[in-house]
C-alpha cells in the first residue's frame, strides 16, 4: 500500500478523493434538492407532493432519473449533430466545477496530512467561480442553436442576453467583498468573517450610533451586515443566472414550450436538469460563503470537526428554501422589465456601492468625511433602487395611452 502511495504521491490521492467526494456529494444533493423543492412547493400549494417512492417520497427523483435512462433519446432532423450532443455536457460540467472552490469546513488532520475541506483553495477563487458561471452560457446557446427548431432558438437567444446582462452585475457585486477581505480566496474570505462585530470601531464617538452598535457586539462578524446591498445585487443576479423564477424567461412554458431544451429528451434532458439544480445549490453555497460566514458558527466539544459542516449545510438549505419560496411566490418578469432591472438598476447600483465601500475603507481619509460620504451615497443608492421605472406608470395602463392618442 505504501509503495503505491509513494509511486503516485499523497497529494494525488488527496486530490482524487476531494474530486470524487465533491462530485458524489453534488449528485446526492441534487437528488435531495429536487425532492425538497417539489415537497416545499406542494406544501405551499396545499398538496402532498411526491409520496410513493421511499420514506416521504425521498426516492422519487432517483426513480425519475432511472426512468430517463430508459427513454428514447433522439435528435430532430435539423439539428447540428456535434453541437447538439455537446450542449448538455457543457451545461452540466461547469456548474459542478464551480463547486470546487466552495469551502465547507476548516482543516481536518489525518495523521501528518492536513486536508482543507474545500475542493481547491485557489487564490483566484471568486474569479474562478465567475468564470465557471459564464461557461454555463455556452451550453444554453449551443442547445438553442443546434436544435434546428424555433422555440429552442428563441429561448437560447433570450437566455444568452439575460445571462450576460446579469453576469455583469454578479461580477460587480463581488468586488466590494474582495476589497473588504483583501483576497479572492474563498477560504480567506470565510476566515475574514470569523469572530463577532465587537471590534468594529467605525461608529465610535458618535452619540447614538455608538450605543446602538455596542448593543450588537455578540453578532458574528459576517459581511452581510456591512455589505447587504452587495448581497441583494448578488442574490438577484444569481437567481437570474440560474434561470429560475421569477427570471425563468428562457424556459417560459406558456410562450416557448420549454425554451432551449425543448428538443431534448431522455438522459440529455436529465443532464440539463442536473446542471440547473447544481447551479442553484452553487449560488446558495456562494451566498453563504461570501456573505454569511461560510462554515462559521458555534462549535461544541463533542464531534468538533462536524459542526462547521452542519452550519454550512443548514445555511445553504436556508438559501435553497429561499429559491423555492421565490418560485412559488413570484410571477415571471416581462422581458423588457428584466433588461431594465439588470442594466438600469443593478449595474449602476453595484458601481456606486463599490465606490461607497472604497471610500469607507480608506485608512488615509478623515473619518468624518468617510461617514458623510457613506451616508450620502448610501441614501443615493437606496433612493435609486427604490424609485422604480418612471415609465411603468404609463405601461400599466394602456387605456390611458389610447385615450390620449399616444398608443
Amino acid at each position: 500500500m505504501s509503495a503505491i502511495l509513494d509511486f503516485i504521491g499523497v497529494g494525488f490521492i488527496v486530490a482524487l478523493v476531494k474530486a470524487l467526494v465533491v462530485f458524489a456529494a453534488l449528485l446526492l444533493t441534487t437528488i435531495l434538492v429536487v425532492w425538497f423543492e417539489r415537497k416545499v412547493i406542494a406544501d405551499m400549494q396545499s398538496r402532498v407532493g411526491p409520496s410513493r417512492w421511499g420514506p416521504f417520497g425521498l426516492l422519487q427523483t432517483l426513480a425519475d432519473g432511472i426512468k430517463l435512462f430508459f427513454k428514447e433519446d433522439f435528435r430532430p432532423q435539423g439539428a447540428d449533430k456535434w453541437a447538439y450532443a455537446l450542449a448538455p455536457v457543457l451545461a452540466m460540467v461547469p456548474a459542478i466545477l464551480g463547486f470546487a472552490v466552495v469551502p465547507v469546513g476548516g482543516v481536518l488532520g489525518f495523521g501528518d496530512t492536513k486536508v482543507g475541506l474545500v475542493g481547491s483553495d485557489l487564490n483566484v477563487g471568486i474569479l474562478y467561480f465567475l468564470a465557471m458561471g459564464s461557461l454555463n452560457v455556452y451550453g444554453i446557446v449551443l442547445a438553442g442553436w443546434a436544435s434546428g427548431s424555433k422555440y429552442p432558438l428563441l429561448g437560447g437567444i433570450r437566455s444568452t442576453a439575460q445571462l450576460i446582462s446579469y453576469e455583469t452585475s454578479l461580477g460587480l457585486s463581488l468586488v466590494p467583498i474582495a476589497l473588504v477581505a483583501g483576497s479572492l480566496s474563498t477560504v480567506q474570505i470565510v476566515q475574514a468573517q470569523a469572530g463577532t462585530v465587537g471590534n468594529v470601531t467605525f461608529f465610535d464617538g458618535i452619540p447614538i450610533l455608538e450605543q446602538v452598535s455596542s448593543l450588537f457586539k455578540f453578532i458574528p462578524n459576517w459581511f452581510i451586515w456591512s455589505q447587504w446591498p452587495a448581497f441583494a445585487i448578488f442574490f438577484i443576479s444569481g437567481i437570474a443566472e440560474t434561470n429560475r423564477a421569477p427570471f425563468d424567461l428562457p424556459e417560459a412554458e406558456s410562450e416557448l414550450v420549454a425554451g432551449y431544451h425543448t428538443e431534448y429528451s431522455g438522459i440529455r434532458f436529465a443532464l440539463f436538469f442536473l446542471g440547473e439544480y447544481v447551479h442553484v445549490v452553487l449560488i446558495s453555497a456562494m451566498a453563504v460563503t461570501l456573505f454569511f460566514g461560510g462554515w462559521d458558527g458555534p462549535i461544541f466539544p463533542f464531534l468538533s470537526w462536524l459542526w462547521p459542516l452542519i452550519w454550512f449545510t443548514l445555511k445553504t438549505i436556508a438559501f435553497v428554501y429561499l429559491f423555492v419560496w421565490l418560485r412559488a411566490t413570484m410571477p415571471r418578469l416581462r422581458y423588457d422589465r428584466l433588461m431594465w432591472l439588470g442594466w438600469k438598476r443593478l449595474i449602476p447600483a453595484a458601481l456606486l456601492w463599490i465606490m461607497v465601500t472604497a471610500v469607507v475603507n480608506t485608512a488615509g481619509i478623515d473619518r468624518g468625511v468617510r461617514l458623510a460620504v457613506f451616508g450620502a451615497l448610501f441614501l443615493l443608492v437606496l433612493g435609486f433602487v427604490i424609485r422604480g421605472d418612471p415609465r411603468q406608470k404609463t405601461a400599466v395602463s394602456p387605456q390611458r395611452r389610447v385615450s390620449s392618442g399616444t398608443a
Binding site: 474530486a19 428514447e72 485557489l122 427548431s149 424555433k150 432558438l153 474582495a178 483583501g182 442594466w343 449595474i347
Partner: protein, 121 residues
C-alpha cells in the same frame, strides 16, 4: 500556491465529463430507438413545421447587449486586482478608481441617453 492546487479541478473535469458521456452512452444502449418521420420533425406545437432555415436572423438588439456586456465585463475584470490590493493603495487607489469609474459612467450615461438600454418601444 502552485499549480498543484488545480489538480482537484482537473480531476473534477475528467470525472464529470466521463459521467456525462457515459450516461449518454449507457442510455443509448438501454433506451429503445424507433424512428418515425413525424418524430424527427422539429417541435412546433403539433403543426407541420415551416421549412426554413431556423438559424437565419434575430433582432439586432441582442448584438448590442453582447457589446455592452463586453465593455462592462472587462471593467469588472479590471476592478478585481484593484480591490484586492486596495488596503495598500489607500488614497491613491481611491482617486485612480474614481477617475476610471467616472469615465465609464460617462459612457454609460451616453448609452442610456441614446436609448441603447431601451428594450420596448
Amino acid at each position: 500556491m502552485t499549480l498543484s492546487a488545480y489538480l482537484p479541478i482537473l480531476l473534477l473535469i475528467i470525472i464529470s465529463t466521463i459521467f456525462a458521456v457515459a450516461s449518454i452512452f449507457v442510455s443509448s444502449k438501454l433506451a429503445p430507438s424507433r424512428w418515425t418521420f413525424a418524430k424527427r420533425l422539429p417541435y412546433e406545437c403539433g403543426i407541420v413545421p415551416e421549412q426554413s432555415d431556423e438559424r437565419e436572423r434575430f433582432p439586432v438588439k441582442f448584438y448590442l447587449v453582447a457589446m455592452l456586456f463586453i465593455i462592462f465585463d472587462i471593467e469588472t475584470v479590471f476592478l478585481y486586482p484593484w480591490a484586492v490590493v486596495y488596503q495598500e493603495l489607500a488614497v491613491f487607489g481611491l482617486i485612480e478608481m474614481v477617475v476610471f469609474i467616472v469615465i465609464l459612467l460617462a459612457a454609460y450615461v451616453y448609452v442610456w441617453r441614446r436609448g441603447g438600454l431601451e428594450w420596448a418601444e
